[in-house]
């Protein structure tokens, strides 16, 4: 029975090991080869990149990236400026409804949160994207929770591109310390009626403001980080609505109209109509002051329980027309050089997702709420105030 002698077992094991080893080598080689194929295939293509177009510095940054990509890879990057990326999600959905499985209009998307969630659920995104991008190995996935997007696992459908931290830019002297509380905000509104406002939810920054308030007012209740249950909604939300009922009459236009988004809010801060504006980019204030878009007399604040921190991503639709070129663009955008320029407040100031030598310290962080709260907050808010 045991006629299988030791040497032969050894030989077999050795053979198996060799086979495995060669398989690994072959795999590595084929990955490299695959990538050079991808780069080859990408040459001469145009990538239609659907991304929010409302920020001058982001647009400038993408133009810089476009010039670089064109020089190095012969790819022309076309920034399709949308006022809300949900437009792109809508387009993909209608393509799906019409049965269009290839030749889609969108090659690359800048998304996160509910938009990602929706596209992932409808299976509209290119799978295994993360591993297909060679530079993904440099991502700070161990230190920062980049692989869950608003509580939804990324599962390779998108590639982290940058990080956001909710912060408040206010006129000098408005608040005593960098960390502020909802009570301080309300007191300020009472002293300066008509001078505060927030981007109208479902704008993403407006909703994040609501989330920050909720975190503070609900004493960071742990149920905020789980799928919201009916009882959690019943327990936690009323205190927020009470607060807003007090705040709204003290807001700009008595809370009957709101800035459409944070960019508009920032413009009104620059005009002096508002005394505070919100941003998701911790470097935005420095960058705007430097560009002459905000006066020098502004200071950065954050909510005392910490700045809500989340990441934003790049994804490729399943029906994209130029997938190879889109991957090359992603690989470039998460490279050290591209990330360093992005993090530089002279250009964009968006925190990097790869390790850089000189990275700005982040604000004290607060966890992002579970994605389910987003929808609840927005629906209730609209039902109450619209």
């Amino acid at each position: 029975m045991f006629n299988c002698s030791l040497p032969s077992a050894f030989k077999r094991a050795l053979a198996a090991l060799l086979l495995m080893g060669s398989a690994v080598v072959v795999q590595a080689e084929s990955a490299a080869e695959d990538w050079s194929d991808v780069v080859q295939e990408a040459r001469g293509r145009t990538v239609f990149f659907y991304a929010w177009g409302g920020s001058g510095s982001v647009n400038q940054y993408l133009r810089w990236a476009g010039r670089h990509l064109n020089r190095q890879y012969g790819i022309s990057l076309r920034h399709v400026k949308v006022s809300d990326i949900a437009e792109a999600v809508h387009r993909l959905r209608s393509d799906q409804a019409a049965g269009r499985e290839q030749g889609g209009a969108i090659d690359l998307l800048w998304i996160n949160g509910e938009n990602f969630h929706a596209l992932k659920e409808s299976k509209l995104l290119e799978p295994d994207l993360l591993n297909a991008i060679p530079n993904h190995v440099h991502l700070l996935t161990d230190e920062v929770p980049l692989l869950t997007d608003f509580g939804v696992p990324v599962e390779g459908f998108e590639v982290p591109w940058g990080m956001g931290q909710f912060n408040i830019i206010a006129r000098e002297g408005s608040f005593a310390s960098p960390a502020i509380t909802p009570e301080q905000l309300l007191a300020y509104a009472e002293q300066n009626p008509g001078r505060l406002s927030y981007p109208k939810p479902p704008d993403f920054i407006g909703t994040t403001f609501l989330k920050s308030l909720l975190q503070a007012l609900a004493d960071n209740d742990e149920r905020l980080y789980r799928e919201p249950s009916r009882s959690a909604e019943r327990d936690l939300l009323p205190v927020l609505w009470d607060y807003l009922d007090q705040l709204h009459p003290l807001l700009w236009e008595k809370g009957r109209a709101f800035p459409q988004d944070s960019a508009q809010q920032l413009q009104w801060l620059a005009d002096g109509q508002l005394h505070a504006a919100f941003s998701f980019n911790p470097q935005e204030m420095d960058s705007k002051v430097r560009n002459g878009r905000l006066p020098e007399t502004v200071r950065r604040h954050y909510f005392a329980q910490g700045a809500i921190t989340n990441s934003h991503y790049l994804a490729v639709p399943r029906n994209a027309s130029h997938k190879a070129a889109a991957k090359v663009v992603i690989n470039f955008l998460i490279s050290r050089s591209a990330q360093a320029r992005k993090a530089d407040s002279r250009y964009w100031g968006d925190p990097a997702v790869v390790r850089l030598d000189e990275a700005e310290a982040l604000l004290p962080t607060a966890q992002e709420l579970h994605a389910g709260w987003q929808e609840r907050l927005e629906d209730h808010w609209l039902a109450r105030y619209q």
Partner: protein, 554 residues
């Protein structure tokens, strides 16, 4: 009168093609998704739609806006026309060709709480150390929207009144009224205006539907808690949740119904006016003091309109230029801290291709629209049988959003890629009715005996058309071309939805950049949106003058 010229087969076929591709096919394609998707409707979807937050206010805003703005514009225009400014056309053309969006941006730069007016008051009198919290035109409100649309509709209605007045023996009416002992002004309002209102029915309908369904202007300056109805439907249409698709569909149906209701009201307007007049005459009641004061007030406001509008237009242009050149400009400085060419320099490489794209689309679609309008008019003139005007103007009388949504769905279902050609075609659908509306009055007044005379001298029918009709109607034709061009430049929805970002024009870019609130970029883009039609207008004026000089020297 005998038929002046025979209807050739080519003309017959071309007119048929124009109608098919610019009228029938677009409307048919737009109907398709409604028929197709209505099947999926169930009570739950409908009840969710009915419960959408802000539904009633949004509809209320739209109804208010689409009733008040056109009516006020109409009466200001009618009151102004009493003064019978002869050289009005020269003034109207540039005012008319400024796109709504650029005008809206400029008006905000002037009259918002941090606009030039407030800054000026601050530097003169030291008032408003901080910008007034509310006052003048808030950056976002229904009131601001109403003002912008009202001011912008007046030139169009004035032009239409000028055209209508050539069909009414107004002077004789006025004289007849005066011999009966009425003042000239009373005769105007009692004898000429009722007739005028009847003839303004279609232009008013176009204005009402435009006000109801415009999306780009409310997106920038309208209220947002909630927005006006069209904006709400547009947002549903852009939203991806599957319930939103049904809401958008039902919402656009509601938009259609609102349009129908308002068109019906618009038709009652002239009857109501005539009825009130009859009642007033029968009862021989004295005009209520309030009403006559209101009338006098209106008359004086109307007299001020032209100088005011000229100052506004100039102010708008200067404000756009200064913002595009501002380096850092904070309240309450009257002028930027420094001027710089940075915005121009960094944007120009991206702006220039956009401008070419916009001009290309606009030139072609304006020319197609103009030629189609001419073909249809000539065909009808030869047949001596005119189609009902509302049918030809269907593109203006249907709200734009449901039409374009239908086309987008159709293209997607037919697996057609977003393409320049589709956008061009969509633009033509809208340039055609405007060109037709601008031209039809003058064209139908043209004395066709000249053509007959030409033929009796041995010229062929086309030769007569080119050598007699074209030179005589040159001015209105050039003018219709400029307006069609301006209509195409200002198209937001068709370009945005059918172009899918592949086809970008100055207008779509201005709205998308406007979402970022950077005044300098917005100033630059709005400035160019305004300059393009003005440039063509200048060109048309030059062409017109050259030919007139040539004619004079002959």
């Amino acid at each position: 009168m005998a038929r002046a010229l025979p209807v050739s087969t080519t003309l017959h076929a071309t007119a048929g093609l124009c109608l098919a591709f610019l009228l029938l096919v677009p409307v048919m394609i737009a109907l398709w998704p409604y028929v197709g998707q209505m099947v999926g409707l169930n009570p739950e979807v409908v009840s969710q739609f009915v419960r959408s937050p802000g539904l009633a206010s949004a509809i209320g805003y739209s109804l208010l806006l689409a009733t008040v703005a056109p009516l006020l514009a109409c009466y200001v225009a009618v009151a102004f026309s009493f003064h019978g400014a002869r050289r009005l056309l020269g003034w109207l053309a540039p005012l008319l060709s400024i796109p709504h969006l650029a005008f809206a941006v400029g008006v905000l730069f002037l009259f918002s709480p941090t606009g030039w007016l407030v800054r000026g008051l601050h530097s003169l009198f030291g008032v408003f150390d901080t910008p007034p919290a509310s006052g003048l035109l808030a950056d976002r409100s229904l009131f601001t929207l109403l003002w912008v649309l009202l001011l912008k509709e007046i030139p169009f209605l004035l032009l239409m009144i000028q055209s209508a007045l050539t069909q009414i023996p107004a002077e004789r009416y006025l004289q007849a009224g005066q011999t009966l002992g009425h003042s000239r002004l009373a005769s105007w309002w009692q004898l000429v205006v009722p007739e005028l209102l009847t003839r303004l029915r279609l232009p008013m309908a176009a204005v009402v539907v435009y006000t109801l369904s415009v999306v780009d202007v409310p997106l920038l300056i309208g209220p947002n808690l909630p927005g006006v109805w069209a904006q709400q439907v547009f947002q549903w249409q852009q939203d991806f949740a599957s319930e939103s698709a049904y809401s958008a569909l039902l919402g656009s149906l509601v938009l259609l119904m609102l349009a129908l209701a308002l068109l019906w009201l618009n038709r009652q307007h002239e009857r109501l006016y005539a009825g009130l007049l009859r009642w007033h005459r029968r009862t021989d009641a004295k005009m209520p003091v309030g009403l006559s004061t209101l009338g006098r007030l209106l008359q004086s406001v109307a007299r001020l309109w032209l100088p005011l509008m000229a100052v506004f237009a100039l102010g708008v242009t200067v404000a756009l230029i200064v913002w595009s050149l501002a380096a850092n400009w904070f309240y309450p400085d009257l002028l930027p801290g420094a001027f710089s060419l940075n915005t121009w320099r960094s944007e120009w490489p991206f702006l220039a291709p956009l401008l070419w794209q916009t001009v290309g689309l606009a030139l072609i679609s304006a020319s197609v629209g103009l030629v189609a309008a001419l073909v249809c008019l000539e065909y009808q003139a030869r047949r001596e049988w005119y189609w009902p005007q509302w049918l030809l103007l269907l593109g203006l009388l249907l709200p734009q959003l449901p039409l374009v949504m239908g086309w987008q769905f159709g293209l997607s279902a037919l697996r057609l890629n977003p393409h320049w050609g589709w956008v061009l075609w969509a633009h033509c659908v809208f340039t055609f009715p405007y060109a037709y509306l601008m031209l039809s009055g003058d064209y139908r007044r043209f004395n066709r005996r000249w053509l007959l005379a030409g033929q009796s001298l041995g010229y062929s029918a086309p030769a007569c058309w080119f050598r007699i009709l074209l030179p005589i109607l040159k001015q209105p034709i050039l003018y219709a071309w400029v307006i069609a061009f301006s209509v195409s430049v200002a198209q937001y929805l068709p370009t945005q939805l059918l172009g899918a970002g592949r086809v970008v024009t100055i207008t779509t870019e201005a709205v998308n950049i406007g979402s970022g609130g950077d005044r300098r970029l917005l100033g630059l883009y709005a400035l160019w949106q305004m300059l393009l039609p003005l440039a063509l207008l200048l060109l048309a004026a030059l062409i017109n003058r050259r030919t007139r000089q040539r004619c004079a020297s002959l």
